[in-house]
């Protein structure tokens, strides 16, 4: 892990610790502070859901867009990562988590635009220039990301992440 990645990880941990200390009661399911996000869980379960659906260069791989996301096939943090076809780095994963946490830092997890923008408006979502990515709250991808934002990727949620990732999996490189 690079110095930059370590310093970012320390920042996330410090932020998470401060938020935990400030809390008077434990978070209710679905209402956890979205700043308490788990980078390891993001890498293990969430990134494979978001990369194909959200993180392309023409969407949230555009550094000027809200919820800027790094991905192997999208935006990289450094030119050399593209030419090396390197996997997502720790620094990129942490930056993605910071990006998700920073989108709506003051709201409950189930009110975050990370969930509401891709959700169809008829299902309670918000208008999204990129269209309706998840049709209902039962969509595996919604279940996966909602559980991660709420800080509770249990076995059922992890299974939802796996199904969602398989549904949008990128083809192998030629």
């Amino acid at each position: 892990m690079t110095m930059r990645a370590r310093s970012r990880l320390a920042l996330v941990i410090a932020w998470a610790s401060a938020s935990a200390l400030a809390a008077c009661t434990g978070p209710d399911p679905g209402t956890a502070d979205v700043r308490l996000l788990d980078v390891a869980a993001y890498r293990a379960h969430v990134h494979a859901v978001l990369e194909p659906s959200c993180a392309t260069l023409d969407c949230h791989g555009d550094p000027g867009r809200p919820l800027r996301l790094y991905a192997e096939t999208g935006l990289r943090e450094d030119d050399s990562l593209r030419s090396a076809k390197a996997p997502l780095t720790d620094a990129e994963a942490i930056a993605n988590v910071e990006s998700a946490a920073g989108l709506d830092p003051e709201v409950r997890a189930d009110e975050s635009r990370v969930l509401l923008k891709p959700l169809a408006e008829r299902a309670g979502g918000m208008h999204h220039v990129g269209g309706d990515i998840w049709q209902t709250r039962d969509d595996d991808a919604y279940v996966c990301v909602a559980a991660w934002l709420a800080g509770g990727l249990d076995a059922d949620a992890q299974a939802a992440c796996s199904r969602a990732a398989a549904a949008v999996a990128l083809p192998p490189e030629d």
């Binding site: 260069l57 023409d58 935006l75 990289r76 030119d79 593209r82 192998p172």
Partner: protein, 178 residues
């Protein structure tokens, strides 16, 4: 500074802000190559001048780009077939022209290349994004791994020059060994 001289500075600046749209700025940033027609400006983002929002070039495309045989080639590859499948299962095919350019436009068409050699096809349906793309030339086939979610100009993400943090590099068929 007098009030009148201040106005001389402020008014043009204000005018520049009010009258230069993002679309115009994108067009102005392109190095016009002096050519006309379907072989001009290979490798540059076509919809900067050929989109529903901004079309000083008159022709309006929904998808357009340039294919190269190798990433570092100066001239595009003629005769490459670009196959596109949208989310609804619609398929279209277009064959690149002598500059390597291809373009897809709305119209009365079936998605087959109906003006072979010109690099253009018309589709009779509205594209349902995201799109999956593959490029073929002879026996060579390359599949685009990620899908296109909203950008009709291939060169917005496939920028001329070396791949970078923000660009996948030009669309090409043959990858030279490192």
């Amino acid at each position: 500074m007098t009030r009148s001289s201040s106005l001389l500075i402020v008014v043009p600046l204000l005018g520049a802000c009010l009258w230069t749209t993002p679309e115009q700025a994108a067009e102005d940033a392109l190095p016009y190559d002096g050519r006309e027609g379907p072989t001009h400006m290979p490798g540059y983002p076509c919809l900067a001048c050929h989109s529903e929002e901004h079309s000083p070039g008159d022709e309006v495309f929904v998808l357009a780009g340039t294919v190269y045989e190798r990433a570092g080639d100066a001239w595009g590859l003629q005769g490459a077939e670009v196959r596109v499948t949208d989310e609804a299962g619609h398929e279209l095919s277009v064959v690149t022209n002598e500059a390597g350019n291809f373009m897809v436009r709305d119209g009365d068409g079936d998605g087959e290349d109906d003006e072979r050699g010109r690099g253009e096809t018309r589709i009779g349906f509205k594209l349902d994004w995201p799109l999956r793309v593959e490029v073929r030339h002879g026996e060579r086939v390359r599949h685009m791994r990620s899908r296109i979610h909203r950008e009709g100009s291939c060169a917005t993400c496939h920028v001329l020059g070396a791949p970078s943090a923000t660009s996948a590099g030009p669309i090409f068929l043959v990858e030279d060994p490192p």
